[in-house]
Every structure is written in C-alpha cells, then in structure tokens.
C-alpha cells in the first residue's frame, strides 16, 4: 500500500494534487489577508457643547499622530446629534476607533448641497480644525472603551 502511494505521488496524478493544494493554500492566505485588512476598533463616545449648549451637526474628526498608516489607512469621524452627542465610526456606523494616539478636531460647518461636501465657513472660527494646534488629544488602547465626557468649545 505504502509503495503504491509513493508510486502514485511520483506518477502523473501528483501534479493536479499539488496544484490543488497550492491553490487552496493561496486562496486561504488571500481570504485571510482580506479579512484582516480591517483593524480592530474600540468604542469612543462624547458630547460637544458650544458656549455651554449642545449643538447638532458638528463634525468630529480624528487624526493619527503618526500620520496615515499606508498599509491599513483609517479615517474616524462622527457628527453630533441634537443633544450634542457623538459616536465615532471607522468602518461601520458606531464601530469605534482603532488603537493609536490621535488629535481631535471639531468643525461647525454645513453640507454644500451642490458638491455634497461638508465645509466652511466654520462657526467656531477655525479654532479647532488644525490637527497640530488643537488642544484635544485621544489615546485609544485595546479593549478599553473611551467616553470623552462633555467637550466645551467656544465661538468667542
């Protein structure tokens, strides 16, 4: 039986089996790499007050302190609701933020209905839109949800 098996492996039936194995292996590797292209995310929530009152429609953006990761680039953002609350999203609604150190920027602009781009003029006078100058920082670590509490902004 064993010798028969060896003969078969060395014979003509070896090639298709080998190709199939290599193909299956490749497919497995490719499938896995596609699955793992997303980074794990952890919930980040908060509330924005402007001059002491909650404001709807403020855009909250995160900027990685190391810059955009070229291998697995992510962008995390959210808009505040009527109570000023926001839940940051990266891939799916409310899924959170990948691990890392971030600068948080805030903008109170509006959606341009023609171009469908959210933009200025910023009612917060561009005080919180520069990632290098914003005083708000965030460190997201594995398995630890973040509640930022009430963030006080001002138009003055």
């Amino acid at each position: 039986m064993i010798s028969l098996g060896i003969v078969r492996l060395n014979g003509s039936s070896f090639r298709p089996i080998a190709y199939l194995t290599i193909f299956a292996g490749l497919a497995g590797v490719l499938g896995c790499s596609e699955q793992s292209n997303r980074k794990p995310t952890f919930p980040v929530t908060g509330t924005v007050h402007v001059d002491g009152k909650p404001v709807e429609g403020i855009r909250v953006e995160l900027h990685d302190s190391k810059g955009l990761d070229p291998k697995q680039p992510t962008y995390s953002s959210a808009f505040t609701d009527a109570e000023g609350k926001f839940v940051l999203s990266t891939y799916d609604n409310g899924d959170g933020v990948p691990e890392g150190d971030y600068a948080i920027t805030y903008m109170w602009g509006k959606l341009n209905v023609m171009s469908m781009a959210y933009g200025g003029p910023d009612k917060l006078k561009n005080k919180y839109v520069d990632p290098k100058k914003t005083p708000f920082k965030l460190s997201v670590t594995k398995g630890k949800p973040n509640e930022l509490g009430v963030v006080e902004l001002t138009t003055k």
């Binding site: 070229p70 999203s89 023609m114 171009s115 469908m116």
Partner: protein, 343 residues
C-alpha cells in the same frame, strides 16, 4: 384460482399509502430545492437586463462621442447668472438610445424647471417621463420613484430656488474621487491623492472650456468607468434600507440627482461613506452599496457589488469589497495608476 388472480389485478391498479407519502415527500424536497434557485434566477435575469441597459447607455455615449468628437458634458451651466441655463447630461444621448421623440420635445435653451415659464415646464414633462433604459429592474418600480427635485437658493451664485420633477435613473456619472475615500485609497500611492482625479465626463460650468474626448482617457478606455450604478429617485438608502430624513434634511433627498434628466446627476464626486451610515452620511472607506447618496457611493440592489460600463463599452461587475485604490483607479481617467483589475 380465479379469486387470487382478481386480487392480484386489484393490487396492481392502486398505490399504497406509503407509496403516496414517499412520492409527496420527494416532490416536497424537489420544490424546496428549486424555489430558492428560481428566486436567484429571477434576480440574475434582472441583473442581466440591468447590465444590458448599461451597455446601451455606454454605446450611446460612444456614438455621441464619434458624432460630436466629444462626450456630453456631465452637466452644463450657461450664463446669464441668476436665471441660468442648466442642462443635464442625458438629453444629448437620447437620440443615440432610440429616444429621438423625447429629444424633439425638449428645448435645450431653457432649464427644465417649474419656475422658468411654459418652456421650462414643458421640459419638466420630458424629464419626468420614465425611460426604461435608465431603469435597473433590480431596483424598486420606476413609476413609484418619480420625484420632486430641488436646487436650493444660492447653490450657484445668485440662483433663486428652483424645482422640477424627474423620472429616475439608476445609472450615474462618476465625475471623480475626492475626500476621505481618495485619501484612504491613495495612502500608499506615490504622490498621494493629489493631481487630476476627474472621471471621463466633465461638467461645463459658465461656458468654461472643458473637453472630454476618447483621447483624454490616457489611463486606457478598458480601465476607466464611463457610468456606474446608483439607485435613483427621491429616496435615500443606508445599505438597502430606505432612510427617513429629519425635516431639516428634506432637501438632501430632493437634491440627490437621482433622475436621468436631473442636472445634479452629473455632479458626483465619490467621497465614500461607512457601513450602514446614519443620516449625516460621513465620508469613509465604503463606495459600493453602502448608500445611494450623491457624492458618496455607487449603489445597487444586486448582492455583493455594482455594475459599471467602461469607456470601451464593456460592462464590469465590481465587488463591494473592492480595494479603494483599484476603484479610484478606474474612476480617474488621467492619473496613470497601475492596478489590478481582478476585483
């Protein structure tokens, strides 16, 4: 002897209860196997019709290009300011998709609008006619998706609010890539997201000379989208779920450019969004089937992806899990990316 033979004969002409039950069980199993297959076949047939429409529109555009030596403008805005002449892309290709009658009824010196006199209203009657070539059968019924469009005051300098009524188009013009989708897609690309990120069709605004010929598609006609799917009408979707917008955002759906004769169909810079987006529709890494909001994503009711007609007239199905770089490369016509066409 006589008795037994008659008994045997009787037995031969009848089924037993067990036999009947077995037959019924087999039929039940077969139906159970077939029904889902029939449903899948119906969707496959609708998708084929949908891709055939795309092909017709693509050929119509290419024939337009060979007749006029340029593709139609994604949309056209002529002066004078205040009461602009705003023209949608699709009017020009009507004669090339066997809709000469509709084209004859249309007056291209007046914006199709309820607010610009009888000629504008007559144009509205034309663009609110359902044209089956612009309808993907996988999407909900076209008659139910005729909607009231609006361009809010000040969308163009000095423009007063105008309204119209339009019949849906499930095919859209990708005018380019921008925003966070482009940033993420070009994160590892030398030079990043800068440079020319225009699609094939260009808008002509205030008579600015923009041309788009076959020769301008230096990335190659087989590698560049001409049109893609985006579910039209006045309903916004998050995934395949219709979204109820808060009153303050009601104009968002009416300005979504979901009609074949709606000029806003031609203003569609893909910025991506996230899975199951909320009504703020934030930008993000998903540009296929996450929403039909203009300037965010391509959208269809097919499982797992959207169809596109390329500038060479072929139709491609692109998976929803497509790499951002690969999709952006196919939207842009001159950026010169080297990419894999396999997903």
């Amino acid at each position: 002897m006589c008795l037994t033979s008659s008994l045997v004969a009787k037995r031969r002409y009848a089924f037993t209860l067990v036999e009947l039950l077995v037959v019924i069980a087999i039929i039940g199993v077969l139906v159970g196997l077939l029904l889902p297959a029939v449903q899948a076949a119906r969707e496959a047939a609708r998708r084929m019709q949908c891709s055939n429409n795309l092909k017709q529109l693509g050929l119509g555009m290419l024939n337009y290009e060979s007749t006029y030596k340029s593709f139609p403008a994604a949309y056209y805005v002529g002066e004078p300011a205040g009461r602009y002449n705003i023209q949608p892309m699709a009017i020009g290709i009507l004669p090339f998709i066997e809709q000469q009658n509709l084209a004859n009824q249309y007056n291209s010196s007046v914006t199709p609008s309820n607010d610009y006199g009888p000629a504008g209203v007559a144009n509205v009657a034309v663009i609110s006619t359902v044209v089956q070539t612009f309808v993907c059968p996988s999407a909900p019924s076209a008659q139910g998706r005729i909607y009231d469009g609006v361009l809010p005051a000040g969308s163009l300098p000095g423009l007063a609010r105008i309204t119209w009524r339009a019949a849906p188009s499930d095919y859209t013009v990708p005018t380019g890539v921008r925003g966070q989708y482009a940033n993420l897609a070009y994160a590892a690309y030398p030079g990043g997201a800068g440079g020319d990120r225009h699609g094939v069709l260009r808008a002509t605004v205030f008579n600015a000379p923009t041309t788009s010929k076959i020769g301008d598609i230096t990335d190659g006609t087989s590698n560049t989208f001409l049109l893609g799917e985006r579910t039209g009408g006045g309903t916004l979707y998050s995934g395949t779920t219709a979204v109820t917008l808060p009153a303050a955002l009601a104009d968002l759906a009416r300005s979504n450019g979901g009609g074949w004769g709606d000029a806003l169909l031609g203003e569609n810079w893909i910025a991506g969004t996230i899975g199951n987006p909320p009504t703020s529709f934030p930008e993000g890494p998903c540009a296929i089937n996450c929403t039909n909001v203009r300037g965010r994503a391509f959208h269809s009711f097919h499982t797992g992806g959207c169809q596109f007609v390329m500038a060479d007239g072929s139709v491609q199905f692109v998976s929803a899990s497509v790499d951002g770089f690969s999709l952006c490369s196919r939207v842009t016509r001159q950026k010169g990316e080297v990419f894999s066409n396999n997903d």
